[in-house]
Symmetry: C2
Subunit: 477 residues, 2 copies
């Protein structure tokens, strides 16, 4: 009786085509982060409960918590920031600054939706131990370079928590009001300005009929917030000027404006265009722990808007202190790799090729399997990824169908005739595709030898190299 074989609800397998495509994305991002001097870290999947809840019990509903066989309260990591904080506290001799990247899965017990999984891959960078705004600017620049390298149309928006603090001061509100105001502003993208205004003021009733209590701010203050959120200059510098003008000498305005301006100076020196990275005072970022610049990337292609922010982060100078007991400045950003992958797939930027093999060696005569194996060895030594057909299909047509499905571009075919003459036949399987032949007719085309040449075995490697490079050129046309 077979085991009921199913992945857990909200979890999924990545099959070869997806894995290979995801690997390409990861290595692109890794290359860029290393270009900036970030270095890799890996932490365990399981952590002590206390570590995971180090910055608040709020997260606990989302975390897979359990008691391990030792009786310890443990859980699966739900982000890479708590583990980083623990690492910085535990390994006291790490270099400062510690610029680390980390690409590992995290687990969150969320309602699973199409495209939303309970296990997903995060790719984080963080610079620990640097107070300089150059560190924030480099995070933004690295995000910019990644999205550009991936071929996406995007916009990075940044602001600063300090600007929000100054706004609250400008309104004459208590500093304790910053978080409630932020939480409402954070809904701007999803709920729109009218709902945000209602929540800042008298409150509202949502579609489900639930009553959302308002903050009770007066009209004038709400109008100020609305004007503030709408600030958009032609350039980063122009936006910053408007923010400066509006905040005036409100408490903390200097720091907030300096956050914006220093990052702009840096980005401008790096040649990063005003269209690609904008100052956007409406950026709130949900997390409570940010203390300075915050940033997020959205995709600007209309059909990708629904993916929302694919990358985001900010400065969190107070967080790691919870673990180390001493002030430890830090800034960083996180990419949701799976969401990015889905977006790229929607944009047609993902080539889904289920194999990296360049060549398949078909097996016409099973008794000669060792001979076919020797051909495969020769091809591998020459640097081709080569699959020796090991399946149970005897017909060459069916073996080529398998190769076709695996999108292997070249097949080697040899039978007793070829062996006698020291030859092999080499078939360009893409030519067959281009002649739009139905796969059912394959056997016929095998006979007609479309896209097929027969060469001395000594010329095999050279001929395949020619065939593969001709293909590459064609593709690049």
């Amino acid at each position: 009786m077979a085991v009921n074989a199913a992945a857990l609800k909200g979890f999924r397998d990545l099959l070869p085509g997806e894995m290979l495509a995801r690997e390409r994305i990861i290595s692109t991002i890794r290359r860029i982060y290393e270009r900036y001097g970030f270095v890799p870290l890996s932490t365990p999947a399981l952590e002590h409960r206390d570590v995971l809840l180090g910055y608040g019990e709020e997260a606990s509903k989302q975390i897979y918590l359990f008691t391990d066989p030792d009786g310890a309260d443990v859980g699966l990591r739900f982000d890479l920031t708590a583990p980083l904080s623990r690492v910085v506290a535990e390994h006291r001799d790490l270099p400062r600054p510690f610029k680390r990247y980390q690409v590992q899965p995290v687990w969150r017990y969320d309602k699973p939706d199409p495209g939303r999984f309970r296990e997903f891959l995060q790719f984080d960078i963080d610079t620990v131990g640097a107070t300089s705004r150059a560190a924030d600017a480099e995070i933004v620049a690295a995000m910019h370079d990644c999205l550009e390298a991936l071929g996406l149309a995007f916009r990075i928006r940044y602001s600063s928590r300090n600007v929000m603090n100054a706004l609250v001061a400008l309104l004459g509100l208590d500093a304790g009001m910053v978080k409630p105001v932020l939480r409402i502003i954070d809904k701007l993208d999803k709920q729109g300005i009218e709902n945000v205004k209602l929540e800042l003021g008298p409150g509202r009733t949502d579609e489900s009929g639930a009553v959302i209590e308002g903050l009770g701010l007066g009209d004038e203050r709400i109008a100020t917030i609305e004007r503030f959120l709408a600030i958009r200059g032609e350039t980063r510098a122009a936006t910053i000027d408007e923010v400066r003008a509006m905040l005036g000498d409100a408490e903390g305005a200097d720091t907030g404006v300096a956050d914006l301006a220093d990052i702009d100076r840096f980005l401008t020196a790096m040649g990063i265009a005003d269209e690609r990275v904008v100052v956007d005072p409406s950026i709130a970022r949900g997390l409570d722990y940010y203390t300075g610049p915050v940033f997020e990337a959205v995709l600007t292609d209309a059909k990708l808007e629904r993916f929302g922010s694919v990358m985001g982060g900010g400065r969190y100078d107070g967080l790691i202190e919870v673990f180390t007991g001493e002030r430890t400045p830090a800034t960083g950003a996180s990419i949701g790799v799976d969401r990015l992958f889905s977006a790229m797939q929607t944009a047609g930027l993902i080539e889904m090729k289920p194999s990296t093999a360049d060549v398949i060696v078909t097996v016409m005569d099973r008794k000669e399997i060792v001979r076919y194996g020797t051909i495969a060895v020769e091809l591998r030594r020459a640097g081709f990824n080569t699959e020796l057909y090991l399946g149970n299909q005897k017909s060459i047509g069916k073996q080529l169908k398998y190769a076709d499905r695996q999108m292997i571009p070249v097949a080697v075919i040899a039978g007793s005739n070829e062996f006698e003459r020291g030859e092999v036949s080499i078939k360009d399987l893409r030519v067959i595709k281009e002649t739009t032949v139905e796969i059912e007719e394959r056997s016929e085309w095998v006979e007609k030898k479309v896209g097929q040449v027969t060469v001395k075995q000594t010329k095999m490697v050279a001929e395949i190299r020619r065939m593969l490079s001709a293909r590459t050129e064609r593709r690049e046309d």
Copy 2:
């Protein structure tokens, strides 16, 4: 109050030097497996309890099992074979053969020891859907190529479960005796032949005083087993001849000998030396589920022997059937990446470099941070991994000490003098190391400009390229 920040017992972080070294190992192995046409797969960390225990409750003591918030019985995967079986059963449209590689952590609740962790990385290859012994031979060949590429001295030993079956038949024992006999033979490496003989016969008392019951075989049978285990020819073919001679016409001998001989023919055609892959009839492999060829790799460097088998596997034609409900032949091998890493470290084969940065741009004058940032951008565009110093140290000596610790080979230094003249100073930090200067004296050497040249900023990229390639050549001498 700080959180008690410690990794869980039996778990560990991989810091950048270790991560980078491990990545090099993984990409070497991946390259070889792709050369053979294997394709990647990823499965979730969590699986249904039934999937994990699909081939026996025995494993349950080692598995992290718990009830998830949905109330489902789940656990962390403890190997990559159970998930593969589930994938083959769940995705019925996978190609056949399905040649997949998978490199993911697994979790086992074992007694943690130095060098033995509860989370460790496994790198598996398996070919599903191929009955041909060429599939087994390719697994062995791929293992061979991996260990060779990693620069290790090794020996791969193989045999077949069918040979063991024939031996048991030769002894006139019931087929049910195969597993008990195997389990004892499996202890040969650790316990030695005398203890194995005692356990096959009357039993023995181990060092702790515990009584181990014997199988009760008579002296003649034990002598036959001993002779069988000791078979070693000069070549694979010679060993196979001896096995054939000894098994005679015992039931199943033909199949067993054919397992050995077909793999040998293949390996010989591939040019794999008799010293590197041997036939060893004493190989048992602990797992019950093997049905044909079995193989394992040991390191032959005397100081690495304690690492035991770093790679092993075999054919398991009955296992996936538990999941699919239909006969699904499969063969594969698994690498314990962490154990391999430790062995390579012991052998001095691991270069532990904590950063991939080629250049550090030091910051003499913080007010000019944007200018230094521009230099970093230029270097990154030229293809150098470049770290802009973002730490809090103002002294160039201390910044160079940081670079030194990160093993960054080249530093760019510029102050107002250089900026005025459009120049930069470039320092080869390895030259300083070679002159065995104490780091304490660094500031002095900064002044003396050891290994340092000053060039126009327009020549900076060329000069650094020259410096780095000179270094590479020197290292290769």
